[in-house]
Amino acid sequence: MDASPQTGRSLVSTPASPERRTDPDEVVELFRRLPDAAARDELTRRFLPFAEYLARRFTGRGEAQEDLEQVASLGLVLAIDRFDVERGVAFSTYAAATIIGELKRHFRDKGWAIRVPRLVQEHSLDVGKAAQALWQELGRSPTIPELARRTGLSEEEVLEAIDASQAYRASSIDAPLGEDGGSHADMMGGLDEALEMSPEWATVSDAVKQLPVRERTIVFLRFFRGLTQTEIAEEVGISQMHVSRLLAQTLRQLRGDIGGPAAGAGPGEAPASG
């Protein structure tokens, strides 16, 4: 008998497919024991790698892997809750549909890259590459007309592409894998000490202080040291486009966190010196 008798479609016939390691009869037996907590735990344990596998199929679309895995495991929990053994469908089939549904809904709700039309996504990549190349040739950030000439796009298309690229989590495009665990975190140690020493930095709200190290460093260099994006790019060792994206995303996030200007001041805010 085939390893996945009821789920021969490519959707779930994967190396990670739970049928390979889980006897369907055992799964049915576990479902019959619900709402027993131990049975539920066992089902979750067995199918979690499957959920994570499905989450991985959505990587590279602008969402952090751990977020996707969380959404997928939520989908798994929902699937376990809703599954009806009497329907005669393999649980993995049902779970895959539920989990993929949750993942797609997550992208829809978040309005991330998936909503950016494919053509604009391609333009974004082209513009990103052209910006990097021109930056090296010119020794400065290129202008929009320069990018338009290089990519063959219109100026409006270039503007749209840059705007759209902000919709991606920067991590999905050119961040080193493993967000803050990469090599840049090491060199930022010294900058972190500089932050501690800055009297102005002491006046910012906790929302700013609690940013991840890379975002915090970029914000500090831009707004407390007055460096340009290009200078920050050199300092931090990432591209100017990447600095731009991180800056835009971080500030947008802070606006959301802070709400309004009235709440912008941290609890212990002192008047800025100078």
Partner: protein
């Protein structure tokens, strides 16, 4: 290369969903003034921050108006709303985070009162203006 620019004026309903229209217009004008991509992006952010300041006032506004001008040395954006003026800017605004961002992104920025209501103005030097 555009030397100077008669005002480009855009008025949108006062809602977060329409700030994007202002951002787009400002980005487009900045591009025509030969701002580099980081400059264009930062003016977009500055618009977001300034619009947030105006939209978070206690007095509600029904519209946001951006007036964009340029001379050979700088791009100037005046963003105003029609909110009833009570206290402008609200106490503490200049010490708070959004203002640090705006003043960091622009060479000069300030508060004013326009014919319609509260106004934030922002000025950023043009890339080839060496002064």
């Amino acid at each position: 290369m555009i030397e100077s620019l008669d005002p480009v004026v855009v008025t949108v309903p006062a809602g977060p969903g329409f700030v994007h229209v202002l951002r787009t217009v400002v980005a487009s004008v900045a591009a025509r003034l030969d701002f580099a991509i980081d400059g264009v992006e930062e003016m977009r952010i500055a618009i977001d921050e300034a619009a947030a300041l105006l939209l978070h006032l206690h007095a509600p506004a029904t519209m946001l108006r951006a007036e964009i001008t340029a001379d050979p040395s700088a791009l100037t954006i005046r963003l105003s709303s029609d909110a009833a003026l009570t206290e402008w800017p609200p106490a503490g605004t200049e010490d708070a985070w959004p203002w640090r961002v705006i003043s960091g992104l622009c060479d000069q920025a300030g508060f004013d009162v326009s014919t319609t209501g509260p106004q934030v103005w922002m000025r950023r030097r043009r890339p080839d203006a060496r002064s």
